[in-house]
């Protein structure tokens, strides 16, 4: 069994107040004796950690603050998410990374896989081998075995036993979260939507940093109720005529909110996110009856992502959301040097072209230097609609 980290980092005093708060909140969790698992990817089966009574937290960083540190080791022409996440790990500047007793990564893109090898030198790391096909028996068998292996690693590291009943309860709880988050973003299927795309993103992104399940569920329900009530009372924060945009591509949050801002400042509204931050992880429910490990494996393996080949599930979800949300255009955001998503932009573009849905690809990174250029592209795209 591993020894859990409970002390603040040495450079704690140098942090600004907001970050100190983040560290203190995590320290409180640790002082209660709870273990923390950090993860990077929507494919990570959070039910395993939940069943073990652990706190799980997303470690994908969204700021360029630590990229210079990371580039002392990693190549410059690598995706900013990978560089920044690694940078936060080596500088002790992220409370979630710092307090993670176990970090779980998947074999998704090449950049992440090789970065994890280096991360493993400084953090207690477990790698899940994610297949790249979603519809063969062998791929499913491998993935199921990987989930069993993860369960065993968690049991060993944290000295717990995870039973089927615990897993079933975790599946049920995660389904409740998924249903509530889906209910929130589906409110924007209305015309006009009751919230801006920026607000929706902040709710979706923020929900992953609420660590008490009961509180989280209550807060989500509250958010739904208050949005509905305001709408019923006639509040219309978004004009009826605003063009309706779907965002797809790489995960979003933090600095990349700039993409949503330039779209909405140009007069459109983002109604739905078909990415890791949005619909992708809440669209379906995990089956509750039957063998929980099999159900978990089946649920997660079917998530659409550019790391899969062929990535038919992404197109299926994209089509469905375009219809349901009556979108006028699709904007894809990719992070610089993200090969899977950048290459797949062509597939997405031609697929949407056939359906007559306008498409814009924006490539960006974690700097703010390109806001003018993004605004010109987004503005021109909206003028096209």
């Amino acid at each position: 069994m591993l020894e859990m980290k409970k002390e603040l980092p040495e450079i704690f005093e140098s942090f600004a107040e907001a970050r100190q708060k983040g560290f203190l909140a995590m320290k409180e969790i640790k002082d209660e004796g709870k273990g923390v698992v950090g993860q990077f990817c929507t494919y990570t089966p959070l039910e395993i950690f939940m069943a073990a009574g652990l706190v799980s937290v997303g470690l994908c960083s969204t700021s360029d603050e630590t990229i210079p540190e990371a580039e002392k080791v990693l190549p410059g022409n690598l995706c900013p998410l990978i560089k920044s996440s690694y940078g936060f790990a080596i500088t002790d500047k992220c409370p979630y990374m710092y307090f993670s007793d176990l970090v779980v990564g998947e074999t998704t893109c090449d950049g992440k896989v090789k970065m994890y090898e280096l991360l493993g030198q400084i953090k207690n790391l477990h790698i899940l081998e994610l297949p790249r096909k979603q519809n063969t028996e062998e791929a499913f068998a491998l993935w199921r075995a990987e989930i069993v292996r993860l369960k065993e690693r968690v049991e060993k590291d944290f000295g717990v036993t995870i039973t089927d009943d615990m897993l079933k309860e975790a599946i049920r709880k995660r389904n409740v979260e998924r249903r509530l988050l889906k209910e929130i973003y589906e409110l924007s299927a209305m015309t006009p939507p009751p919230v801006s795309g920026l607000r929706q993103l902040q709710i979706l992104f923020g929900s992953q940093f609420k660590f008490d399940w009961n509180e989280k569920v209550a807060e989500l329900q509250q958010a739904i109720d208050s949005i509905k009530a305001a709408y019923a009372a006639g509040e219309r924060p978004v004009p009826e005529k605003a063009p309706r945009i779907l965002i797809t591509g790489c995960p979003m949050g933090g600095v990349t909110e700039k993409v949503v801002k330039v779209i909405e400042e140009a007069g459109a509204v983002v109604v739905v996110y078909e990415n890791c931050t949005g619909a992708k992880q809440m669209d379906r429910q995990c089956q509750e009856e039957g063998d929980p490990i099999t159900n978990i494996a089946r649920y997660y393996l079917q998530i659409g992502c550019a790391v899969m080949t062929p990535d038919t599930n992404r197109l299926e979800l994209l089509d469905r959301l375009c219809q349901q949300f009556k979108v006028d255009g699709v904007v894809e955001m990719t992070l610089q040097s993200c090969h899977p998503y950048s290459i797949e932009t062509y597939t997405i573009k031609t697929h949407l072209q056939k359906k007559g849905i306008p498409y814009l690809h924006l490539e960006t990174d974690y700097s703010t230097a390109d806001i003018g250029q993004l605004a010109t592209r987004a503005g021109a795209f909206l003028e096209m609609l």
Partner: protein, 258 residues
């Protein structure tokens, strides 16, 4: 002059500020100025200059009421007296349709960016921009000309020989030192100039390939009157490349029509 019917289009680019006054669909005045450090002031002077071309209606005290100003280009948001701002993508398309009705592709090589637009009836269907790197832009060409001790106009003259040598670097900074090396190695200015133009044309052609080139194709922007560039582009794209004497004003015309 009936000032109420006049619309001003101002295309405030990174290098030059272009303007037109239009009345009943006709251009009644036009002017160009280096953008300089203060786009707002430059645009104001430009407008005043154009109004003077139309007659004494415009006093020095400012913009006469009744004239609608529409701004485009990178400086579009810096012009407080503009009624609205429209992106240069939309404006170049509308302006190109005005200059060459039926145009299907626009290639604009500007000071700090280059773009390719596919359009139909003046409406944008798809566009590609290169604006994070100086490779293939007017700035790249200007810098290369300066390195060879010639003006852009003279550089165009050097291209008449049809000679060319290959530049291996697309990066504006590295190409600069490569030009020095090539000249030092005894390459003629004609050959180096040919290499520079080919580099710009191949970048523009690569952008155009991503939007699907339809004909006719119009070259717009400040470099459109460089005959050598037009020819090099035609070779790279394998199709006819048209220009207009007013190509430089395409963005401003499009703004006035927006």
């Amino acid at each position: 002059m009936n000032a109420s019917a006049i619309v001003a289009g101002i295309d405030c680019g990174s290098a030059a500020c272009k303007g037109v006054l239009m009345q009943d669909g006709a251009i009644v005045a036009k002017a160009v100025k280096p953008t300089g450090w203060n786009p707002r002031e430059t645009a104001e002077e430009l407008l005043r200059e154009m109004l003077l071309q139309c007659g004494p209606a415009a006093g020095p005290e400012g913009i006469p009421g009744g004239i609608t100003v529409i701004a485009t280009g990178y400086g579009r948001v810096a012009i407080p007296f503009a009624a609205r701002a429209v992106t240069e993508i939309t404006c170049h398309s509308r302006g190109a349709e005005y200059l060459l009705p039926g145009v299907r592709t626009v290639i604009d090589i500007g000071g700090q960016d280059s773009k390719a637009i596919s359009l139909h009836n003046g409406k944008v269907l798809a566009f590609q921009m290169n604006d994070k790197c100086a490779a293939g832009t007017g700035r790249f060409l200007e810098m290369s000309a300066a390195r060879m001790g010639v003006t852009l106009r003279e550089l165009d003259g050097l291209l008449e020989s049809g000679e060319s040598c290959r530049l291996s670097s697309m990066c504006a900074v590295f190409a600069d030192s490569e030009i020095v090396s090539l000249l030092a190695a005894g390459k003629s200015r004609q050959e180096v100039a040919g290499g520079v133009i080919d580099a710009v044309a191949s970048r523009a052609a690569a952008l155009a390939a991503r939007v699907e080139v339809g004909l006719p194709l119009l070259l717009t922007g400040g470099l459109a009157d460089l005959e050598g560039l037009r020819k090099a582009l035609a070779v790279q794209l394998g199709c006819q490349v048209k220009t207009s004497p007013l190509s430089r004003f395409a963005g401003a015309i499009g703004a006035a029509l927006s």
